[in-house]
């Protein structure tokens, strides 16, 4: 009986297919006009398969190269969406979770959502104390739906697992991270953790959690200000402002990796709000990746590596790290890593930068370099599972910087944290 309903309610993938069938999915990937029709169609289809399937699909296509680079980059920034909830379902969900209906809990509650969130939707509300808040509410049963999909996926991806192209550890990592996103209490912990650690960056704003109005399926946070990337760009911001914002985004990313050793790893554009004073407000913390000390140390040691990437010392750095995390560094993967460093990182992050040397993210060549080298690394099985989400976040960062056409003093910023 439990499996009888699996098709209709027990599968996240099922929801997404139904969304497409019911015409609920509205947004379209914004592709450049230079794209072929086939690529566009492919992107539309991938769009219908947001969420876990999308993340897996993205990984698979990285290896097989069946998607155009630009589409791949866009995929990194898609959101895990759930079907929309009507007010009656919202009320039931809140009452079940917090014991009372939203209208009883809040002084004001808007029954219609103002935004889609990962696996749910967000509503405006005002607390009894008069504080304006955003209430994120999860779609029912989504945790089990996702788990069902993964057990199915594990079954039919056996061949890819056996060949080592899709290691079990990678599926484990993706499942763990996505299932964690369904626990809003964990997200509340993430928010408080990052609010504390990001305090030194004055340009970043993190919401405050209202624990008394939160549960594993409802998350109440203070309302953040700012505009989404699209709206921000529509205002035609000056190059100076775009450069400032780009530098801030870049600093935020590397501060997290090198200083906090944990990062806000969901690069969906809806998760960042931009302000005219070049401030950034973060809004969705479902996907926060905590790095191991070894990985953080490794990243610090290879970033802006001053010597030659062909040197025995650099090779030793790579080998030691792979050994530490229990992986074997195959010769192909080693070559791919060195290629990555030479063809991408050394260009974007020059090890010996001139004073005020800016990198221009407006030029799309760097994105292609990044994707080509990522594919190479995947093909040679050199990807450490820990970096799956960080890689996606990194791709999201570059994609956003590219959209901003920002010029950023990359190496100078990174230097501060090494």
């Amino acid at each position: 009986m439990a499996s009888m309903g699996a098709g209709i309610a027990g599968s996240y993938l099922g929801y997404l297919l139904q969304r497409a069938f019911l015409g609920e999915a509205k947004g379209k990937i914004k592709l450049k006009s230079t794209h072929t029709l086939a690529a566009r169609r492919m992107a539309d289809e991938m769009q219908a398969l947001r969420g876990p399937a999308m993340k897996l699909g993205q990984m698979l296509s990285l290896q097989t190269g069946f998607l155009p680079d630009e589409v791949l980059a866009e995929l990194a920034t898609l959101q895990m969406e759930a079907p929309g909830m009507h007010p009656s379902l919202v009320r039931v969900q809140v009452k079940q979770s917090l014991g009372r209906e939203p209208e009883e809990i809040f002084k004001q509650f808007t029954p219609e959502p103002f935004a889609a969130a990962s696996l749910g939707q967000v509503h405006h509300a005002v607390t009894r104390e008069g504080q304006r808040v955003a209430v994120k509410i999860q779609y029912p049963g989504i945790r089990r739906a996702i788990k069902n999909d993964f057990s199915l996926f594990r079954t039919f991806s056996k061949p890819a697992q056996a060949s080592g192209h899709l290691p079990k550890s990678a599926i484990d990592e993706i499942e763990k991270q996505i299932v964690a996103e369904t626990d809003y209490l964990r997200e509340a912990d993430n928010i408080e953790f990052l609010a504390d650690r990001l305090a030194p960056l004055s340009f970043v704003k993190v919401p405050r959690v209202f624990r008394e109005y939160s549960s594993d399926k409802v998350l109440t946070m203070s309302l953040m200000t700012g505009r989404h990337l699209e709206d921000f760009l529509a205002q035609r911001p000056s190059q100076k402002l775009r450069n400032q914002l780009g530098a801030h985004l870049f600093e935020l990313f590397h501060f997290q990796v090198f200083k906090i050793e944990a990062l806000h790893a969901d690069p969906h554009w809806g998760n960042y709000l931009f302000n005219d004073d070049a401030g950034i407000s973060l809004v969705d913390f479902g996907c926060v990746k905590y790095l191991s000390p070894e990985s953080a140390a490794y990243l610090r040691s290879v970033c802006l590596y001053p010597g030659s990437t062909g040197s025995a010392d650099f090779r030793r750095l790579l080998e030691t790290y792979y050994e530490q995390v229990g992986e074997k560094l195959l010769p192909g993967a080693r070559r791919a890593l060195i290629g990555f460093a030479d063809n991408f990182y050394r260009k974007v992050y020059p090890p010996k930068p001139e004073k005020q040397q800016l990198f221009d993210f407006g030029d799309a060549i760097f994105l292609r370099d990044f994707l080509r080298e990522s594919k190479n690394l995947f093909r040679t099985k050199g990807v450490i599972t820990e970096f799956i989400f960080m890689g996606r976040a990194e791709m999201g960062l570059y994609q956003t910087l590219h959209r901003l056409k920002a010029r950023v003093p990359t190496s100078q910023i990174v230097k501060k944290f090494l």
């Binding site: 009986m1 439990a2 009888m4 309903g5 209709i8 309610a9 027990g10 099922g14 929801y15 139904q18 069938f21 019911l22 079907p83 909830m85 009507h86 007010p87 009656s88 379902l89 039931v92 969900q93 079940q96 979770s97 029954p111 779609y139 029912p140 049963g141 989504i142 089990r144 739906a145």
Partner: protein, 248 residues
């Protein structure tokens, strides 16, 4: 079978007692107005109606708690009377059989669900799928404290000769009321000019859908029955979308 026979054999003396009892009551009722002045004559009648309703409620509550803990089949009218703190004969004044009590409960379930949708100002402008969701959810919420009994009643209802049966006379009446209301909701929301065989059949089909949803709910072991919520939401949006298109 044996329990049924037992129940039947017990019913007979019960019924006799009822007759005697009600005769006595009737005599009382006749005597009362004489004692009271005319202008407040309807007061004691109101109170009596209130008393009656209170006793009916007591019987239903007692019966449901026994159905839930002891099981529907194992519960006797005697036990119900004891639990309600009244004479067994009094029970028969209100309900002929325990199946009648169960049916009364299901009538309440449907009536309160209909009222909760009809009287909710928030739902007035809601789309059809939301109204139907609210209807079914309100029914399930009403049944929730008696889940075990509902499971047993469901099985009972599938037996062809059962008075609880989906096609029994009283259940038919209840079904008409329910289907009628669903028809009303659909008429409110669907475009009139696009009548199709689907819209014609839909209210009746909805009744069967509800039974299916009930079965899904009974088997749903997810915390807070979250899967049922998702099931209702998804299936109703698909159903209504098909209905609006007028074709499959």
């Amino acid at each position: 079978m044996t329990t049924k026979k037992k129940a039947a054999s017990k019913r007979k003396p019960g019924r006799a007692a009822t007759a005697k009892h009600s005769a006595g009551r009737r005599a009382q009722r006749k005597a009362e107005p004489k004692r009271k002045p005319r202008h407040i004559a309807n007061r004691p009648v109101g109170r009596r109606a209130q008393n009656k309703a209170a006793i009916r409620k007591r019987i239903v509550t007692a019966a449901l708690s026994l159905f839930q803990t002891k099981g529907f089949d194992a519960t006797t009218t005697k036990a119900i009377a004891r639990k309600a703190g009244i004479a067994e004969g009094t029970v028969f004044n209100y309900f002929r059989t325990k199946e009648d009590i169960a049916l009364h409960f299901f009538e309440q379930e449907v009536d309160q669900a209909i009222a909760s949708v009809r009287d909710n100002p928030r739902l007035r402008k809601a789309p059809l799928e939301e109204k139907l969701f609210a209807l079914v959810h309100s029914q399930l919420e009403f049944l929730a404290p008696y889940e075990r009994f509902i499971g047993a009643a469901f099985i009972h209802a599938l037996k062809p000769a059962s008075p609880l049966g989906i096609f029994s006379h009283r259940a038919q009446e209840l079904r008409h009321r329910y289907v009628g209301f669903v028809q009303e909701l659909m008429d409110e929301s669907l475009p009139k000019h696009r009548l199709s065989p689907l819209t014609f059949l839909a209210p009746e089909v909805f009744w069967i859908y509800y039974l299916g949803a009930l079965l899904y709910w009974l088997h749903d072991s997810s915390p807070g029955k979250q899967n049922t919520l998702a099931f209702l939401d998804r299936s109703l949006s698909i159903g209504v979308s098909v209905l609006k298109q007028g074709k499959l």
